[in-house]
């Protein structure tokens, strides 16, 4: 019998706060690595159940929102190629009030279980939303506690890390990922998050026009030392 020996696939663990963070912030990068065979696990701390956008015109209420957003996120995961999705079942807008040690332990256990080559999360100061900063802070702590072999990166919005000096970082601290071949998947995932994107008319314009709104690059801030041998423009060694 012939056995096919495949190199063990690379793994990426993304720990974010709300359904749609993965798509809106770094959907191109996730789609790119998924297409290269990287096994991606996405953790969403909440179901985004306290969101303000209720569809346009509104068809969601506060009590139906968690199920709707979970369904939309599952679709977006399919569009991006993310195979594993988990929720931490924290209520939206309360992540920063959850016991930090307990949450750190939960995420450390996940890191040990998934054994990822790359961990993505929010920067604890530059995350923007309190839930983002809070999940970034505990994930960073968990990464350090596990003394994990992989690399930690912080996701960033749009082109803000094109000029990292403005935030006290240098170009060496930033990895720039070319995602232009994966913008169709990113747009599909934007549309999967329908109740959140319905209000943004450009998302629903014809594909060519809508795709024009995306940048060709997504930027990541290094959260752990990377070896000199690391190829530029890549999160993996």
């Amino acid at each position: 019998m012939n056995e096919i020996h495949k190199a063990p696939s690379k793994k990426l663990l993304a720990v974010f706060a709300h359904p749609d963070d993965e798509t809106f912030i770094c959907g191109g990068t996730l789609a790119k690595y998924a297409s290269e065979g990287v096994e991606i696990t996405l953790v969403s701390a909440t179901r985004g159940e306290m969101g303000r956008r209720m569809g346009n015109p509104p068809y969601i209420n506060r009590e139906t929102m968690p199920a709707v957003r979970e369904k939309e996120l599952r679709r977006a995961c399919d569009s991006l190629g993310i195979r594993n999705l988990m929720f931490l079942d924290i209520r939206d807008k309360t992540v920063e009030f959850i016991n930090e040690d307990g949450l750190t332990d939960t995420i450390a256990a996940l890191i040990n279980e998934v054994n990822p080559d790359v961990v993505l999360t929010f920067h604890e100061k530059l995350g923007g939303h309190p839930d983002h900063c809070a999940i970034g802070k505990v994930t960073t702590a968990a990464f350090k506690h596990t003394a994990h072999r992989g690399s930690l990166y912080f996701i960033s919005y749009g082109n803000m890390m094109e000029q990292p000096e403005r935030y006290g970082y240098t170009r060496q601290d930033v990895v720039k990922i070319d995602v232009h071949d994966h913008l169709e998947a990113k747009l599909a995932a934007f549309r999967d998050h329908r109740c959140q994107t319905e209000i943004d008319e450009w998302v629903w314009e014809e594909d060519r026009k809508a795709l024009g709104r995306f940048g060709n690059y997504e930027y990541f801030l290094k959260g752990s030392p990377t070896p000199k041998s690391q190829k530029p423009g890549n999160l993996f060694q």
Binding site: R52, M54, N56, P58, I60, N61
Partner: protein, 103 residues
């Protein structure tokens, strides 16, 4: 959610008077409370097109909200009121339930 019909919501609010009620109340961008339990002693609705609702509770309390536009009645146990803007964004919500809302 359906646009509020004042008389209907008035009657539905009355069905919670005298009951122990769990409240979810939020001004979306600023504050929410979930599952505080009160005994509703009186309930009011006022306004046209966009409505104000006030609850009196426990003989000495008030909860008043405005900018409510839509309603969803779920059986006898839950009444969901919400206020949306013209793009479907939530401004306020007021839910009354005879059982706690999911945490």
């Amino acid at each position: 959610m359906n646009p509020i019909i004042k008389d209907q919501v008035e009657a539905e609010l009355q069905s919670f008077v005298g009951e122990e009620v769990y409240i979810h109340s939020e001004a979306t961008s600023f504050v929410f409370v979930r599952n505080f339990k009160v005994k509703v002693t009186d309930a009011f609705i006022a306004g046209e097109g966009s409505y104000r609702v006030a609850l009196q509770f426990d003989g000495h309390g008030w909860l008043r909200m405005e900018a409510l536009t839509h309603v969803e009645r779920e059986g006898n146990a839950r009444l969901l009121l919400a206020g949306y803007d013209d793009k479907g964004r939530m401004n306020v919500a007021l839910h009354l339930g005879k059982e706690p809302f999911p945490e």
